[in-house]
Symmetry: C2
Subunit: 877 residues, 2 copies
């Protein structure tokens, strides 16, 4: 007998052959190998599919092999395909190596034909069943293989059912017979072709249909989205039908070996008596809990529990299964590792370690960082239905409900009166900070994932939806519109920063409680990971929260936020100073408050490193909007101070502030600002040291383009720091390093590294400059067009672009460490909290990542995954 | 006798030993070797200097070697150092491997001392000469070696001279004797030390002083500026004095073997009878032309001509020499390759090929691209003195004088009345184009070397000074101020785009005439170079001019300029369209005019490639300023159209337009604009083809970040182009390629190249993004601070930054050509016309550079230099 090329019987396969047999087939083969009750069958391999996709012809010899396997199947079953007296019926199911929605699913009862109805009725002693089986085949085959609109069948069925009082269970054999006739007509009307009465023709048609469905639009879209290669192909599972809807003592159901919602160690499932699998899934009939099975068919229930134990012990994971009971005998139709909620994933992983089923590495592997994140933020309750008014960018996770307000002041006033508010703005600026603090959540019509609103909201751990571009906001009028819907101040909206959805009215919110397993799993993750996890925190309270979440230091403490609020007038006095004296006195005032700022951060970090970045943003951000002032000027409403502000705003205005007087350029042009900051920081270090705290100070220079630039500033820093320390008579060690956030700094890292004690990659700016993308300007409609057109795989501001930006990081780490073996390297952009980017950071040899406090647990887990070599979703291929 | 380690006698050196002997010493040795009359001497090598600089001690044995050589010199001269009866006098001169201003120059008459005056007076029979020689030594030695302020000596000399009627020639021996006494006192008063009477002490002091002067501030600054390494050190030339100021038949002079101003093949020089070298240089006494020497000392004149011929035949270049005649005998004191004007350089190079002295490669090597550039633009006349009011950036070469105007309209009106005007603006925008066309030159207070004003001016070949930040311009008041100086409309100013100078009033302008040698040399250069030279030209006339200058194609034809002027209303109609119909009709109108635009360019290029870049700039540039409109709105002065414009301007406004909806992002968001342009271009190709012209069309996509982006647009381009061609029934080949102007495009070039037929590096944007420098915002005060602080070696927008931007280009060329061996690569940024950047382009394997029409000749020469391996100034080290 020649070796099969394209067909593998269940008994000869195993679960290691997913690529060849598809997931479903491999699991059916495995269950057969384990001796579990699987109806006989065989698999047409993915290789056959690949051959078909190339030539658009079934490969030569395929159908011969199928027929040969069928012969064996017929022998075991004692029935023959097409036999009018006792027809063998088949189920034909697709099964790709990866679970893939959008592909052809299942054709049941294949092999039924006009002349076999009577025979089937006879052997099953159930005429109604026989006609039902026939009409089901016509319906499924017509829809799935022949492309008939499913609605026409559904309508015809509904018509008949309602004529019989509305319950499908009340339909008679005659009803199904008539329905079969009607369905046959529908096929002809819709396709111009007859439903094939030849079972062999049906079989070949079904195999072709499965193969073709690999390239259906939804399947292709799904693959592109998930990064699954297009050339894998799908297998076809051909299996003897067993019937849960025939005679007595039959039924069908689905079950999980543990509770998929809570993770509790109890089997969980639904079943239906006298039904086929699709009836359970369709949700038309009310299913019974698994306990009912124990009462109704205790033997089958015992068998099922035994099978579940066998599977779980074998898979060492929670499994879900589909089963059918035919004439009191249990059959397994499918199994796979079961999907579970985030909380269940956590609990099952931790439980299974305690049960000795898996080790801690495996437990850590089993929980996705994204799942952990879900556990940390409130979400729209999964049990509630709602309609989204519009959808923006999911900018900061969490969900919130509140009354709409349009200004930061209003947010503050309403919040003081005990109202929960959602701050709705075209975009936010540092001036809105107090309003953001007061609001439950933030909704903007402009700006992207790294807009001010998004970054600040993530830092605060508050939900935000940004760039909801359908919103037309009238701030003075205190209304916003989406299409015809208009909302006014005080109206209630709910936003989900997980999904980007905006909903009118209240959506109940659900806050999963991080529990014991949470801490247990993260402790295991900490043992596994090599990457350090730091946090981006600008204030003492932020720092404290991050330490609670397990941060091992601050990777980025921004100082620009410290220049707003009640310091703004002082900053403006500095900028507008007409004498050096005025300027110095303003600087002195700032130094004194910054000293307090820094002390409060260092106190919280006691013994952990705190990386403080010197002032970064464009100076003009500290001044009011030019247009606003110019209008006032034209109206004669500007006083002398206003005139001065307008003049200063014009002087400091830049065409492209993102590429202007930022970062250390500011330091080079106005060294006294940096020197003031260093003095304040080192004085704070001395202050807290005298309180018994251990300050670990790292001073970071932003936005350099060249080593000489860094050397100049480093000189100033040491000078100012040494002055403070020697005045105080203290000796406190500190490091000086730099952000690497311009492409040139990365490309010349070998020359920068000797001047630096650490590099911190500012991947936000690096992404901006590598792409020439201004985050604020691009992340609205351009980014969504690029993503939807497939021009970008991911938003590069969320997930690090490995080809361009990643390559720059790679170059800089390699050449930087080669030039300075002591160099510490970390990442402190938004990417520091993104699991895929953390995997990259691990591989490229960074020492730590830094992310917002709320993402620290996620980062700890993602870093462990990276150390374990777990591939992120983007690397699935 | 032990081998000398640190001292080389003239007779044993040669001109190949510049590094060891310094330039002056090597040439003195060479002349000695050639048998020319050089006073005997020897050289303390740069090695001795390097040893001294390390240890700050004269190396052991050095003075012994010096003394030993001195013995031999004394023997030949028949005199002894320090001999009171007939003292040997020495000249001591520094001589570094590179000509270096700022170092110690010369001590003459070393060896004189109090007791030797009488002896020298006796042997020279000239008491006045003897006392003069003594006072000269005290003066030079005191000033140069001992650090006495030169002014005190000068004052004392002037006092005595004026007491004698004002002519130094009238001073008597007694006067010089008294001056010597006074000078000795000055030395003591100023230094607290006695002038050393011991000639050996004098000699050692002079050697130390030369060594020390290597590290003087001016010398170090100069080396940093010229890129000369700090560890080369200088040699010291020690030589028997000859006197042009002793007895009868003496004199001294300088001469060139050809005219250094015109290049004419006639010796040229100045001399003075009865004088020492410093008298000629000091310019106090009126020198005689060389012809006078023929009359006064005909034998010496003949000797001098003979020497000059020998030197020129030997050097195969124009030489300058210093000579002295002592008692009727000619001595050579120095020679080197002579400095010359640009026009002379050109003429000498071409003449010497005709004379058979050098080959064409060498001739091409002899003319610097920068010199050629001087020949192409008017300049401030070199004979005229003037004071600069202020200095800005030399943004576009050339010089111009005209009346100040402050608006484009005024420029146009005044020019129509026959006035020559200089357009003075804070900065220019496309709206000012008509004024720039009308003006002689442009002066702006803001913006850098690639600001609108600078780029457009260079394109027009008009002089421009940009970023003259001291200018405070009051446009409505029609005045500008620099400090206390205020100028009003109609006042005359002159600007030099070569030096950046702004001068009140008229400075005569001199326009060198490109001549026969110009064409000859460039033809030789064309034979040598490998790089193609294209031009950046947007219009037919520009293209025609560039072809005249030798351009071999257009590397960059920008289409955005075509959207301004009388097309602006149509563009605005497109942007404001409230229906697709209006929009399409505006697009159709644009297509029709663009077709003419393109036809006029293609006609001029007949048979040469024309690379047309699809529309690039931010759309909001086509709308008026928001603040201006907002003010009008507030004042109730806005009509309906104004309202629409304001709304559109707000909608299209971007925080950072340079990183916003630019380049192909515009094409992706509004594909019909690109399709319209392609249709217009291909229709133009068909039109001119039917006229018998050969169109060679290259279509270029701007600002891509990824290969998939390019693939999408390339698809559209081919679709639109094929449609036009098949409608016309013509088959015209065309290429489609892309700009590489984002770092990411360069870093992913391997994935971009298969989608492109050519790469054109937009190094302006690449520089902007690699550095995070917005040209407009950075090139003012930040750039000048960075340059003056030494944080940048060059303005990276003028000279390509090799370490960062160059590395990106290198990566992209290598990986692009590896992925697509047919890929053509060129550069079309501002750097395409910069000689250093052209050298890099050659080395990195680009196929062509593209620059503005007026720089094409410069680029042709620079490309030949690159092929010859001539190092640019930045690579001297």
């Amino acid at each position: 007998m020649p070796q099969n090329r394209f067909v593998v019987p269940f008994a000869e396969g195993s679960r290691d052959q997913r690529t060849l047999l598809g997931g479903k087939g491999a699991n059916l083969a495995e269950m057969t190998r384990l001796g579990l009750p699987v109806p006989e069958g065989f698999i047409v391999t993915t290789e056959a599919c690949r051959a078909y996709l190339k030539s658009e012809e079934l490969p030569e010899g395929l159908m011969d092999e199928v027929h040969a396997e069928l012969r064996k199947l017929e022998e075991v079953a004692g029935k023959k395909l097409g036999d009018p007296d006792d027809p063998l019926l088949l189920s034909v199911r697709s099964g790709a190596p990866f679970s893939m929605p959008g592909m052809m699913d299942t054709v049941l009862n294949l092999g039924m034909h006009e002349k076999a109805v009577e025979g089937l009725a006879r052997v099953s002693s159930d005429e109604r069943f026989a006609w039902d089986a026939y009409r089901r085949l016509i319906q499924l085959y017509g829809k799935i293989v022949m492309g008939v609109s499913g609605e026409r069948f559904d309508e015809a069925l509904a018509e008949t059912t309602s004529a019989r009082g509305g319950d499908e269970g009340d339909l008679t054999a005659e009803d199904f017979q008539q329905l079969s006739r009607r369905f046959l007509d529908i096929v002809v009307e819709d396709t111009g072709m007859q439903f094939p009465q030849d079972p062999y023709e049906q079989l070949e048609g079904a195999i072709r249909a499965v193969f073709r469905s690999w390239n259906g639009k939804r399947a292709r879209d799904y693959r592109r989205y998930e990064g699954i290669p297009d050339d894998l192909g799908t297998a076809v599972n051909i299996q003897r039908m067993v019937f849960g809807n025939v005679g007595e003592a039959s039924g069908t159901g689905v079950a999980f070996t543990r509770d998929p919602a809570t993770g509790e160690r109890v089997p969980y499932g639904d079943w239906l008596e006298g039904a086929q699998g699709e009836d359970v899934v369709a949700g038309i009939r009310v299913t019974q809990p698994l306990e009912g099975l124990a009462e109704r068919f205790p033997d089958c229930h015992q068998d099922l529990l035994r099978v579940m134990r066998t599977l779980e012990d074998h898979e060492r994971d929670m499994c879900d299964i589909e089963f059918t009971i035919e004439h009191g005998k249990l059959f397994m139709l499918q199994t796979r590792v079961g999907k579970r909620s985030a909380i269940a994933a956590l609990r099952i992983a931790v439980d299974m370690v305690e049960e000795g089923l898996i080790d801690t590495d495996e437990a850590v592997r089993r929980v996705k960082p994204e799942q952990l994140e879900q556990l940390l933020h409130p979400q729209f309750s999964p049990d509630v239905e709602y309609d989204a008014l519009t959808t923006g960018l999911a900018a900061s996770p969490g969900a919130a409900t509140g009354k709409v307000v349009f200004t930061a002041d209003a947010a503050e006033q309403w919040a003081e009166q005990g109202e929960k508010v959602i701050l709705v703005r075209p975009e936010t600026s540092p001036d809105d900070l107090h309003g953001m603090v007061s609001a439950e959540g933030i909704l903007t019509s402009r700006g992207g994932l790294v807009s001010h609103a998004a970054v600040v909201a993530r830092g605060m751990g508050k939900p935000a939806v940004c760039g909801a571009s359908e919103l037309s906001i009238d701030v003075p009028g205190r209304t916003f519109r989406v299409g015809d819907v208009e909302l006014s101040e005080g109206d209630i909206v709910s936003i989900s920063g997980n999904s980007g959805q905006v909903v009118v009215g209240e959506v109940p919110v659900w806050i999963p409680e991080p529990s014991g397993p949470f801490e247990t799993l993260l402790a295991w993750a900490d043992d596994i990971r090599r990457l350090g996890i730091r946090t981006n925190a600008d204030t003492g309270p932020d720092a404290a929260r991050a330490v609670q979440f397990g941060a091992e230091g601050i990777g980025l403490c921004r100082t620009e936020h410290m220049f707003f609020g009640d310091r703004l007038p002082v900053v403006r006095r500095m900028l507008l100073a007409d004498s050096d004296e005025t300027r110095q006195s303003a600087l002195e005032e700032l130094r004194s408050v910054q000293r307090e700022d820094f002390a409060s951060v260092l106190r919280e970090m006691d013994g952990l490193p705190a990386t403080v970045r010197l002032l970064d943003p464009p100076l003009h951000e500290f001044l009011p909007d030019i247009t606003e002032l110019a209008v006032k000027e034209a109206l004669g409403e500007l006083d002398a101070e206003g005139d001065a502000l307008l003049a200063a705003a014009r002087r400091l205005d830049e065409e492209n502030p993102m590429l202007g007087t930022r970062g250390c350029r500011l330091g080079i042009m106005q060294p006294d600002i940096y020197k003031m900051q260093v003095r304040a920081l080192m004085q704070a270090a001395v202050d807290v040291h005298r309180e018994g705290v251990t300050p670990v100070v790292e001073i970071m220079v932003p936005l350099i383009v060249d080593g000489t630039e860094l050397a100049l500033i480093t000189g100033w820093i040491h000078e100012a720091a040494q002055e403070v320390l020697s005045d105080a008579g203290e000796s406190i060690p500190y490091l000086v390093g730099t952000m690497i956030e311009t492409p040139r700094a990365a490309l010349t890292a070998g020359a920068v590294a000797p001047e630096a004690e650490f590099f911190s990659f500012g991947t936000n700016d690096l992404t901006q400059m590598a792409y020439g993308f201004s985050r604020d300007d691009i992340e609205g409609s351009i980014m969504s067009t690029y993503l939807s057109e497939g021009l970008l795989d991911d938003n590069p501001f969320s997930t690090l672009d490995l080809d361009g930006v990643g390559r720059l990081v790679d170059i800089a780490v390699k050449e930087g460490k080669a030039a300075n073996s002591e160099l510490k390297c970390g990442i402190c952009g938004e990417h520091g909290g993104d699991p895929n980017s953390i995997a990259f950071s691990h591989e490229v040899g960074l020492d730590y990542v830094s992310c917002s406090p709320f993402r620290v647990p996620v980062a700890r887990l993602a870093a462990a995954h990276a150390a374990l070599g777990v591939l992120g979703p983007a690397s699935t291929a």
